[in-house]
């Protein structure tokens, strides 16, 4: 398992409080993250939350939701409380997929977000799939951004597989959100390189996935790095070794019990 995949697992349908612009999981312990996903007692939430509901208050990852759509109104409420009750300048980031925009909760939340002027960064990871359903079955518009016109919420569609573009767009977005206390949508066009869930066939052909794999964000970032092939390989090896070691350790960890 690659780290970016772990991040995707955690962030999808997650609510995150953005204090500074940095990779929120940078510096966060990998061990309790993997342990929580595997249901071990050493996980962030002692195995109670699992991958679906993982939360880590240390890095202000407030909560994750399994059911599509739920995260958005909760994020709106959180952003409201922080801005108008706690009077902080925090920005709340909520992560969801394009499929979420078919859900009533999303639209109810957009309505409130705009009316209540909440500092909310809406991060839509658009991969053109809802589980194993293609776009034509759930998205009547070309983009998710178009849908935001109905609420008067500004949106920006970018290549979500390019880390640099994502960082710049996010920096601009968060600055504006903080200043104007308004919701803002970043539509990240991205790709899903693996199946929706284990044991389920993919609706796409192998050729289609292979074509999408050329846009792998790690490859895009790798091409940009001005380092030797040797260094690149070393980085890959080191990271994979670190992850493998964590997995090996987590496997030995105790399962939670109830007294």
């Amino acid at each position: 398992m690659k780290t970016e995949y772990a991040h995707a697992l955690v962030f999808n349908n997650g609510v995150l409080l953005v204090k500074r612009l940095q990779n929120p999981y940078k510096g966060a312990a990998l061990h309790p993250l993997i342990a929580e996903i595997l249901g071990k007692a050493t996980g962030f939430n002692k195995g109670l939350a699992g991958e679906m509901h993982i939360n880590n208050q240390d890095i202000r990852h407030v909560f994750s939701f399994q059911l599509v759509g739920t995260c958005v109104p909760v994020a709106v409420g959180l952003a409201y409380a922080l801005r108008y009750y706690k009077k902080t300048d925090d920005v709340v980031a909520v992560f969801f997929g394009d499929a979420c925009t078919s859900n009533g909760q999303f639209h109810e939340a957009m309505n409130i977000a705009k009316i209540r002027k909440v500092p909310l960064l809406l991060v839509c990871e658009n991969n053109g799939l809802a589980g194993n359903i293609r776009k034509e079955y759930y998205l009547p518009t070309e983009t998710v951004s178009e849908r935001m016109d109905a609420y008067g919420i500004r949106a920006n569609a970018i290549d979500g597989n390019d880390v640099k573009k994502v960082m710049i767009a996010t920096e601009i977005a968060v600055g504006g959100i903080r200043q104007w206390s308004a919701p803002y949508l970043l539509e990240m066009n991205t790709t899903r390189l693996c199946h929706h869930k284990q044991g389920q066939a993919d609706v796409r052909s192998k050729e289609e996935i292979a074509k999408l794999a050329e846009r792998d964000p790690l490859l895009v970032a790798e091409h940009r790095m001005s380092v030797t092939e040797e260094t690149k390989e070393k980085i890959w090896r080191d990271i994979e070794k670190e992850i493998d070691e964590v997995f090996a350790k987590v496997k030995e960890d105790p399962w939670p019990t109830w007294d």
């Binding site: 909760v74 709106v76 409420g77 952003a79 009533g104 909760q105 409130i112």
Partner: protein, 322 residues
């Protein structure tokens, strides 16, 4: 059931709820009131709250599900939300947030104070349902249904001090003339969640009820001068089983009268628990009386069929007390 105006409002219970909220708001800046038309509702029901804490009232659109989830977000941000879902029928529109978001967030992270308010009326198929029993089945939710202003005030006070999600029901079908205004001004008992109260002492039969039917029974037993014990559940989750067990062990019989559909209702659970715990003491099978499993008709003349008649209650009680 009352034959008076179906839009009847029980001012006293509502006033008591707002008394508790107001008193707590004065000392706890985290309490926020929100829901559909909150400004308007509070303007009519508790104008002093609107005047003193205008920024702690949040009027939200008619989007029940997002509203309750918004409240969850507020709680995550350190506030104590009281979200008003208006009538109990609307709770079905926010089942996802009440059952999937609230308790699961509490379970996997940490419990926070969230109060979901709703009221019972009776008028037609979707403006008079009583879904309270459904919520007693969901782990992580407390469900309270006070039968009088003093309990309403005390229970709201407790709910606001408890780190848990509480569904707080207000029974608008209880007639004003059966409640006492002075209740609200007398000293305030601390009412822990899950503590019932013996309303009437008796030795021939234990009757258990809550909210509307509790009031019905109270008046009926008073008028008929019957020596039946009457227990007010006050909260239907958690239930004060110790109190019921102690009483049934003394009387040897139990009659549960509920304002909700009897089938798979609150009474069914109590009947089952008491049959298990007091089998030796029971002289008769536990009996339940309540609403039929029928959609509530719109016509006022049909509402009387929605609850057991006084005649029926007396017949069954007489049988059980032999």
């Amino acid at each position: 059931m009352s034959k008076s105006d179906p839009w009847f409002r029980n001012r006293l219970i509502r006033d008591a709820i707002y008394h508790a909220i107001y008193d707590r708001m004065k000392v706890d800046p985290s309490i926020h009131l929100m829901g559909e038309g909150s400004h308007m509702k509070i303007y009519f029901d508790a104008p002093h709250i609107l005047k003193e804490f205008p920024h702690r009232i949040i009027t939200l659109p008619i989007s029940e599900d997002a509203n309750t989830n918004f409240a969850v977000g507020m709680a995550l941000g350190g506030a104590k939300p009281i979200v008003d879902v208006i009538t109990a029928d609307f709770l079905y529109r926010t089942m996802d947030s009440i059952c999937n978001t609230v308790p699961k967030e509490h379970f996997t992270s940490s419990p926070k104070t969230i109060i979901i308010r709703s009221e019972f009326m009776t008028a037609s198929p979707t403006t008079g349902q009583r879904p309270e029993a459904l919520f007693t089945h969901i782990p992580g939710l407390n469900v309270v249904v006070p039968s009088n202003p003093l309990d309403a005030r005390g229970l709201m006070d407790t709910a606001l001090e408890t780190k848990a999600a509480t569904l707080f029901f207000e029974d608008r079908m209880i007639e004003d003339k059966t409640t006492n205004p002075e209740d609200m001004d007398t000293h305030l008992d601390i009412i822990p969640l899950g503590k019932g109260k013996i309303r009437r002492k008796g030795h021939k039969l234990t009757t258990v009820s809550y909210a509307l039917t509790l009031r019905m029974l109270d008046l009926l037993l008073e008028r008929e001068n019957l020596e039946y014990e009457l227990i007010d559940l006050r909260s239907i989750y958690p239930v004060d089983y110790d109190l019921i067990v102690e009483s049934v062990n003394r009387t040897g019989a139990l009659l549960i009268v509920e304002p909700d559909v009897t089938y798979a209702g609150v009474g069914a659970e109590i009947a089952s628990q008491i049959s298990e715990r007091c089998f030796e003491a029971l002289c008769h099978p536990v009996k339940r009386l309540g609403a039929p499993r029928t959609t509530i008709p719109a016509s006022r003349s049909l509402h009387d069929y929605m609850l057991p008649s006084e005649k029926r209650i007396l017949e069954v009680a007489e049988e059980l007390s032999k």
